[in-house]
Amino acid sequence: MALAFGIVGPGPTIGPYDIPLYGSPATPAANGHGRLVYAESPFGVALTPDGHARYDIHVTAAALPAPSSLGKFRAYVAWAVTPDLSAWSRLGTVSNGSSTVGPVDLNKFLLVVTAESDSASATHAGPTVLHGISPSSLLQRFLTQPAFHGVSE
């Protein structure tokens, strides 16, 4: 008999899994937090065949107004977005409190929550209400530093 999926305690509060979420001009008071947790895997570490980590995201959101207060919207939908904003992947719906969405398998990405008219929407159309960046987006680029001037890649 296998146990059911569930959260039994707090995970790390800081580290390579944390995504602070910020409000937007439409929702300046909104805030939240995303925490990356490896998607279910027999190996503990979930990867795609080409080596991308596969994460679920535990989203905690606060001070989100009712979607309808922003227009003809009914739900908030989370998206994983490539850094150049060219590709949006639907992760699931979120609301105030805790939600689990995913999985995401991008090396670097933005986590964006938008208001949508349909909770099942497959494309983003509404205003952004929360946004943050994956921890990996903070990876530094040292070749721009003076110490490496003249050093070729």
Binding site: G9, I14, V45, D50
Partner: protein, 608 residues
């Protein structure tokens, strides 16, 4: 400029003149004020008396007579060899020209490899209760990138002989150490009598060169296991001392059916062109993240190949014997079904996209090759390029499976597509389920400290802290890693309750206990990194990761703990004795990252 010997690399400061950072300075080597050294336990890895210096019985002194002057970059036998950098990754300017603070060591003390026996592939040895196997660690000749080199092997084989026994068999292994280092044989994952666990300093004295030791190995659990030294694993294991054991269950349908079996023993070697990078004589270098090779090997060779029929199901027995590398293996798009891991089958078979395995882990999987053609077995990861601030795809081809047009006979396609439940596994686990949610009996933090590292390393790592990869798949900083040894790097398993580290932890439980252990891998240490934690002689369940309950359980002896992650383990402490628990990255172990679990027999009984 230091060129080797005991002069530390930190004499010359870095040129990391980044805005807001330290100016370029020259810093004299400071005495290492770090944490106390591990307790002086004769025979413990990394302690005096256990390095290559302690060879005995007339074995040649390592380094002495080792002619390295012909190696690229070597000068007068010193370690001033340029370390091979990952393509596209420059050396940190402040490290150029430095050398490790340990003397170089390679097997054979300069012996002519052509006078050594050529290593042979593993031969299967089927044994039953009462049988005896002579197992000899010896020098062999292997060919690496076309160049003959002296390395190690068991019975002249790399991997060592595949020992195949029925479940509950007890065999005798007469070990003969004929290499130039002290050694011992650890029977990884086997819940055997503590006396034969093969851990010098805990269960036996090291077997000196020329000496022998007799092991009595009992195999209570069906599955895939491996044997390797527990002395200077960073050298001995990397140089070829590893082998597998398959313990067959009495039930012929224990696993779902397959047309054939295939062993896949994964390892790597670090080479500069066609030359092995020497090891540290007094202790390991590459202490920061372990030695990650740039040449991936399968069954000791550069590439595996096999021929199968269309529709064949191949059962792969995978073992990661690398010092530090974590693999992500797939089979050219062939569907993969995972059956079992370290000490048991999974409760439920499952299809998986790839097989992720940390050092010392084992997985038994099946893949079905449906269509004629060629399938590439690969290790594919997303590696960090610290200099570009990007991820780079890294792919190593492990082998080629050629599928011909002849149909599989028999055709196990239906069985392969059926995900079996294993109620016997679930029933065995049932008595442990009431303990899954209990409070941890012990909480550990994985952390580290350093002293005396090159200033350039310290400065670089201090500022490269905005993001830590949960798992480091390659060595993105081989120059920094090379220039770190186990006198400078102190890896620790820390008891959260007492603050004690490693072998100072006094951890006793009564035999028969069900022990909940929570381990947190601190992301705030100087060099956060994943750790494959191995517990000897017992079995354990990973009941939760970062608070998420595990749905499909399997008995393990080694578990990967990514940076910043917390795992909850439930240990079936049923096997009395003193058992090591340690990181299985060889250089981390040699840098102190080990403790002991004492499973105490009932009062009034003495465990022998």
């Amino acid at each position: 400029m230091p060129t080797g010997g005991r002069i530390r690399a930190a004499v010359v400061a870095a040129a990391l003149a980044m805005p807001g950072l330290l100016p370029v300075t020259v810093r004299a080597q400071q005495p290492a004020p770090g944490p106390p050294s591990p307790p002086p336990m004769a025979g413990m890895p990394g302690t005096p008396g256990m390095g290559p210096d302690s060879t005995a019985k007339g074995a040649p002194s390592p380094g002495a007579g080792m002619n390295m002057s012909g190696m690229p970059g070597m000068k007068d036998g010193s370690m001033a060899m340029p370390i091979p950098m990952t393509p596209g990754m420059p050396m940190v300017p402040g490290l150029i020209g430095l050398a490790p603070g340990v003397a170089p060591f390679l097997p054979g003390a300069g012996a002519d490899p052509m006078r050594l026996p050529a290593a042979k592939p593993a031969a299967t040895v089927r044994l039953k209760t009462g049988d005896t196997l002579d197992l000899t660690a010896m020098l062999v000749r292997r060919t690496i990138k076309g160049r003959a080199v002296a390395m190690y092997g068991y019975n002249g084989q790399v991997p060592g002989p595949l020992i195949r026994v029925p479940q509950n068999a007890t065999i005798v292994v007469r070990f003969h150490n004929r290499i130039d280092l002290p050694s011992a044989v650890h029977w990884h994952g086997v819940r055997l009598d503590n006396r034969y666990d093969g851990t010098p300093g805990v269960t036996q004295a090291p077997v000196k060169p020329g000496d022998n030791f007799e092991y009595r190995v009992h195999f209570p659990d069906a599955g895939l296991y491996w044997y390797h030294p527990h002395v200077r694993e960073d050298i001995e294991q990397a140089m070829g001392l590893f082998g597998n054991m398959i313990v067959d269950a009495p039930d012929s349908a224990y696993y779902s059916p397959a047309n054939r079996d295939q062993m896949l023993v994964l390892s790597d070697l670090l080479v500069n062109a066609d030359t092995l990078i020497p090891f540290g004589r007094e202790g390991p270098d590459f202490a920061l993240m372990g030695r990650v090779g740039n040449l991936v090997l399968v069954n000791g060779e550069g590439r595996d190949s096999m021929h199968v029929h269309a529709g064949d199901v191949v059962r792969f027995y995978l073992t990661n014997v690398a010092s530090s590398r974590t693999f992500n293996v797939s089979f050219g798009g062939a569907p993969i079904k995972v059956l079992a891991s370290d000490v048991s089958r999974f409760e439920q078979e499952a299809l998986v996209p790839s097989v992720v395995m940390a050092p010392a882990e084992r997985y038994i999987v099946e893949a079905r090759f449906e269509h004629p053609g060629q399938y590439a077995m690969v290790n594919a990861v997303q590696a960090i390029n610290h200099f570009k601030g990007e991820f780079d795809a890294e792919v190593d081809t492990l082998g080629i499976v050629t599928v011909d047009a002849a149909p599989a006979t028999p055709d196990y396609g239906h069985a392969f597509a059926t995900m079996r439940a294993n109620p016997a596994v679930s029933k065995d686990i049932d008595r442990f389920r009431p303990y899954f949610s209990k409070a941890p009996d012990k909480r550990f933090t994985l952390t580290m400290s350093t002293s005396g590292l090159p200033l350039a390393t310290v400065q670089f790592m201090d500022v490269d802290t905005a993001y830590y990869a949960p798992v480091e798949w390659i060595d993105a900083m081989p120059d920094m890693n090379w220039l770190s040894d186990n006198q400078q790097v102190h890896w620790a398993i820390r008891d959260q309750a007492t603050g004690k580290d490693n072998m100072d932890i006094d951890w006793h439980v009564p035999v028969g206990s069900i022990v909940k252990v929570q381990i947190f891998n601190d992301p705030k240490s100087f060099h956060p990194m994943q750790h494959p934690i191995h517990l000897h002689g017992q079995r354990m369940l990973v009941v939760a990761r970062d608070g998420v309950v595990t749905r499909d359980l399997v008995w393990k002896d080694t578990v990967i703990i990514p940076v910043g992650s917390t795992v909850d383990l439930l240990i079936d402490a049923s096997n009395p004795g003193a058992w090591m628990m340690h990181c299985h990255i060889a250089e981390h172990l040699e840098s102190g990252m080990m403790t002991q679990l004492h499973v105490d027999p009932p009062a009034g009984t003495a465990h022998q």
